[in-house]
Symmetry: C2
Subunit: 164 residues, 2 copies
Amino acid sequence: MIEAAGIYLTETDKKNITAADFGLSDIKKEGVQILTLFDTDRMAAKILVLLPYQTEPEHWHPPVGDDPGKEEVIRGIWGDLTFYIPGEDTLEKGFIVEGKDLCYTMRNEVVINPGDQLILPPGTKHWFQAGERGAVMYSFSTKVTDLMDRFTDPQVVRDTVIEG
Amino acid sequence: MIEAAGIYLTETDKKNITAADFGLSDIKKEGVQILTLFDTDRMAAKILVLLPYQTEPEHWHPPVGDDPGKEEVIRGIWGDLTFYIPGEDTLEKGFIVEGKDLCYTMRNEVVINPGDQLILPPGTKHWFQAGERGAVMYSFSTKVTDLMDRFTDPQVVRDTVIEG
């Protein structure tokens, strides 16, 4: 899907693709595929892929030590993608994962078309979901502190990673 | 060139493309075209374009206040691109701008093919140049402090920007 979206990947990139199911063990429903392009002590860039109708669970990036928390900028590359952030309930294109109303509390829908960008300041609760084609996006950020991410769903275990 | 390299640009992106001649007034020789994708208080992403045989003058990113200096990661997208950084003189594909030997002191050549990445820690002197096709690349960085950049060429004036 990444290559189909026009991104040139090296052999090293391809080996670095992983998948995360957040310990929920139903990755086609709740999960994300991740290619980390680089990850330094100060910043990182990833390509994230969602399968059709796959949902990344609601989470936020808290302060870590001297860091006010990870700032993230999303840029849409391809596909059908909606983000959910704080604000008025405008959820229309997307859906709440069945039986998980309490785990998806942000309902302000932002449609991300190719080239659209969304800045997520530290601490912003967010989740995102693909429509019928799936979705490919960039995630640019300050220093990655994924293991510190907080999730609304108490069943999430952040460090479950399935090698791709 | 950016679109030909497979990058989807919005109308806003297209309006944001600028060109810099660094006050040297010979942009086809020494200059760069810049599309800033985003630029927050903590990080930025740009797409840089070099015309065939165009050269970006040698410079480095010094400390600014509490910031140790801008860290930059280059990722090749398309074309013929070489970077020059500290190390042994291996200059082979590229050339020094005529009459400017003292302005281009780094001679360690790094060929950047599509998907290749180069991390430039703060303070690293560097310049870069396109071959016959020109070049398109990403520049990801911590907070942009372009007006603080230091150049080897004393004739450079950093804030000359030609609107695209």
